[in-house]
């Protein structure tokens, strides 16, 4: 059905000159803001990453690849990248494992109960990283709840904070709601009759799930993993608070370069490298998933 043309996107003055019509005013301010605060900054960063660093924190307009070369050959950088990616992938994997049953369960609930349970999932999302991470600090620290319990039971203390384990727990906690929500959409869209049909044909509950529901939910798995991975590798607060000053991830490193050391060209280059690494991993993952999803339309 053709849409109602309430007004054309262009109007003509009495002399027949084209002027942008009122409706394009709707998008213009937004485009300006997005252009200045999103597109321009990234382009500028790319530009600066190719400039030469200058001791006073500014830069010389001299094209160079030194920033990239310097960073890419630094083993420390690769160690940090490795740790960041590792944490990211583990977060995705574990989040997926623990989120999927809950998302599946949620998709089968009647609307009212689903609404209530969704509130439980979404409220933590809206509380903010700092507060939730603080909660984990209380639980995981050496004088925290878990270790208090362990001590009461005369068990050895567990070092759950100020290391990667603590960071991992924190990351998983923060991003699980995103995973649940990403899975929920596609899971809800799957016709429950499909599993029933499989069972009527002799499939066990597990089989019906594994061979029917799981493949159909893969788009949700894909979007959820991508989302959580990007979020996990971008985390700043969690590695700082739960990782002590020991666990250094890419965001921490990049912020350090730019704000403390005021070395913009290197900081920019590092940021670009970080960005590229993320994109490469995501592309590989998407390709892999596309292979697994080839049966679906």
């Amino acid at each position: 059905m053709a849409t109602t043309k309430v007004a054309s996107t262009e109007s003509r003055t009495s002399q027949g000159i084209r002027v942008p019509s009122p409706t394009s005013l709707l998008i213009l301010p937004t485009l300006v803001v997005v252009g200045f605060f999103l597109i321009l900054p990234y382009l500028n960063m790319l530009y600066i990453s190719l400039m030469t660093a200058n001791n006073q924190g500014a830069f010389e307009r001299k094209l160079t690849f030194e920033n990239y070369a310097h960073n890419l050959t630094d083993p420390f950088i690769w160690k940090v990248i490795g740790l960041t990616v590792q944490l990211g992938l583990l977060t995705v994997l574990i989040s997926l494992l623990i989120s999927y049953p809950a998302a599946y369960h949620l998709s089968r609930q009647p609307p009212r109960r689903r609404g209530l349970l969704m509130m439980l999932i979404i409220t933590p999302l809206l509380i903010g990283v700092v507060i939730r991470t603080y909660g984990w600090m209380i639980i995981l620290s050496d004088t925290g709840l878990i270790n208090q319990a362990l001590r009461a039971l005369h068990l050895p203390a567990a070092g759950l904070m100020y290391n990667s384990t603590g960071v991992l727990i924190g990351l998983i906690h923060i991003y699980v709601p995103y995973m649940v929500l990403a899975l929920l959409g596609p899971l809800q869209a799957i016709d429950p009759d499909l599993e029933s049909a499989a069972r009527s044909l002799g499939a066990s509950r597990w089989n019906a799930f594994w061979r029917i529901t799981w493949p159909l939910s893969l788009p949700g798995v894909l979007s959820g993993s991508i989302l959580v991975f990007v979020l996990a590798i971008s985390a700043y607060i969690i590695p700082q608070l739960l990782g002590g000053f020991v666990t250094i991830t890419m965001p921490i490193l990049v912020v350090q370069q730019v704000t403390d050391l005021l070395n913009w060209p290197e900081g920019s280059a590092l940021t670009v490298i970080f960005f590229v690494v993320a994109v490469v991993i995501l592309a590989a993952y998407a390709r892999l998933m596309a292979f697994f999803m080839r049966g679906l339309s």
Binding site: T123, V130, V176
Partner: protein, 270 residues
Amino acid sequence: MLPERVDRALFLTPVVALYIFLIAPVVVVLLSAFNAGNYLTFPPQGLSLRWFEHFLESTSLMQSLVLSLQLALIVSVVSTALGTAAAIYVVRWSGRYREFLRILLVSPLALPGILSAIAILILLYAIGVGTRGMIGLVGGHIIVTLPFVFLIVSAVLVRFDRSLEEAARNLGAGPYMTFWRVTLPIIRSGIVAGAIFAFISSYDNVPMSLLLASVGMTPLPIQLFDYLRFAFDPTPAAAGTLSIVLAIVVVLISERLVGLDTVYVGGPRR
């Protein structure tokens, strides 16, 4: 084959465990806020409001709280205006640019916040502004909250029944009158939900606030972060209680307005 009941229990265990896992830190923070002692023990050491007093008496924390609320308000208003206008344009008018615009407007969600913040910071320094004033902070916040408003209002617009507008036109209302008297009141709930979501996103935001705030004007999450890096008393828990209450209110309101299905799962309300 396990009996049905055991099977179900087996399945529900990870589900229940997940909810407990999600809620545990929140509960812990709440308990700490009202706890008399310096740190939370089990059993708790007694009830007290001293941490709330501490919070309210702390100039730096209070200033940050006020700043965060003001900032969230400004950002919410601007983002909602821009996002709603953009949603209307993209859903109704954009023609062949639709997909491109949609991706562009939602992209901040996919880009790591910290990278975007760094990029903006560098640009601002390059043009000589740096972190002076609020322009960088506000701009950064708008960029990351706008996608939410855009998505929510778009979802509401897409399922809006166009024949209502046609009926209004048929009855003598011109295009602007129709928008004002028919379209706007009906999508209002989506706009409000978007505004609320923008508010709380700004209030909680870390990357932009971390890098773009000028000296002496620190938003609350960053102030708390600084606090926690070196001290460890439950004063932040008192601040956190406020956030928790805020979050619960937002969830309840958005459920009533548009249904959580629309906002968070991206589908129409059944």
